[in-house]
């Protein structure tokens, strides 16, 4: 059976999570996953997708947008989306 425990995903860096997610999507699309493991692997893919989305949200919250004056010159920064 595929790895059923998703506890490792909670600490996974973005690059590793997206890499494994892409690999799972490819295997599912190609029909290369055995029937018995198919649902387990899909559920791991869902957990990886949630991890990637969480990390993206955290990254977005740290990004600040550059504010410009009337002449288009940078004047400073402000939080993205007011967060």
């Amino acid at each position: 059976m595929a790895q059923n425990n998703s506890s490792d995903i909670g600490k996974m860096p973005f690059e590793r999570a997206i890499e494994e997610l892409e690999s799972i999507v490819k295997r599912l699309e190609e029909g290369k996953v055995p029937l018995e493991e198919s649902v387990t692997i899909y559920e791991r893919g869902e957990a990886l997708k949630r991890r990637c989305e969480d990390l993206l949200r955290q990254a977005e919250a740290r990004v600040e947008k550059i504010t410009l004056d009337a002449a288009g010159k940078p004047t400073g920064t402000a939080p993205l989306d007011g967060e």
């Binding site: 055995p34 029937l35 018995e36 493991e37 649902v39 899909y42 559920e43």
Partner: protein, 309 residues
């Protein structure tokens, strides 16, 4: 005329490795559920062996013989990650296909109103020359082709509500405009086929995939808006149901949330089409369903509907 129930004890002798979901207890659960009082009116008969030449309507003779020759004298041999053979597997496969053939004979000769075939191994993943996903011979495909060859049916339809897509049935009838294949199934999931765009060379393949987590509303909408209109337009003279019950919410191999009454509802809707264009003729074959309680209850609901109960 009554509903006919076809099974055979040899189907309990197809053994799979310990912990495998497609196990003999599945059939015991189905048989136990159909022992209830309300099923006493069922006509019951044992499945004959399918002759090789009838299986060969869908699978090459050398494939059939290779499977026979792969049967072990003891233990279990793996054919792929999912699919394995024990000493009793080939005999069980012949009885499963034979049950489907016998059901066609009985229903088309008007000795039974319709029939449910409770056998295993299942069939809809078996491709022309490839065992796959617990399946060896595509029993539904054999039933449809046999109805055409033996009984002169011009158009047959297969309706497959197993939660997995019937890649085998789709492949076998991809270029055959006389057999329509319709399926609801979860995507993404094994075997990876079954997208809406897969429609066959003559637009007679109808796929209505569901998303993981979907429940009765999406399932009923897929049946009513995608499948029933195409069936009604095709006007089959016989409908074969690939009756898998693994879209039940309790099933461990998928994420669709149906309950027993949804299978009864789908059965009734298919019967309405059969009544309108096929003289009510339905042959229903057990496919998947891996939670024993859900399988027993869902099969009972399906068969009760077939009995017009």
């Amino acid at each position: 005329m009554s509903t006919l129930l076809i099974t055979h004890p040899a189907c309990l002798e197809h053994l799979t490795p310990p912990g495998h979901p497609e196990r003999p207890d599945r059939l015991r659960a189905v048989e136990s559920a159909l022992e209830a009082e309300k099923f006493q009116m069922l006509a019951r008969v044992e499945a004959p062996r399918a002759p090789f030449e009838v299986i060969a309507l869908c699978h090459p003779m050398d494939y059939i013989e290779a499977l026979r020759d792969a049967t072990p004298n003891e233990g279990i041999v793996q054919l792929d990650a999912d699919t394995s053979m024990s000493p009793g597997s080939f005999e069980a496969s012949l009885r499963a296909a034979g049950g489907a053939i016998h059901a066609v004979d009985e229903v088309l000769s008007k000795r039974a109103a319709n029939a449910f075939v409770a056998t295993r191994p299942p069939g809809h993943h078996a491709e022309t020359a490839r065992p796959m996903g617990f399946c060896f011979f595509d029993n539904a495909a054999i039933a449809a082709r046999y109805a055409q060859n033996k009984h002169g049916i011009a158009r047959a339809a297969i309706v497959d509500f197993d939660v997995h897509h019937g890649n085998g049935s789709q492949e076998i009838f991809w270029s055959d405009k006389t057999v329509m294949y319709c399926s609801t199934h979860q995507m993404p999931l094994f075997p990876g086929t079954g997208a809406v765009g897969e429609s066959g060379d003559y637009n007679t393949v109808v796929n209505a995939p569901l998303r993981p987590g979907d429940g009765p509303e999406k399932f009923r909408d897929a049946i009513e808006s995608r499948i029933l209109p195409r069936l009604a337009e095709f006007k089959p003279e016989l409908i074969v149901i690939s009756a898998g019950f693994d879209a039940h919410m309790r099933d461990p191999l998928a994420n669709i949330n149906l309950e027993e009454e949804d299978f009864a509802w789908a059965t009734q809707k298919i019967m309405d089409i059969a009544d309108a264009c096929a003289g009510g003729r339905i042959v229903s074959l057990l496919e998947g369903g891996y939670d024993l309680q859900a399988l027993g209850n869902s099969t009972a609901a399906h068969v009760a509907a077939l009995m017009r109960g």
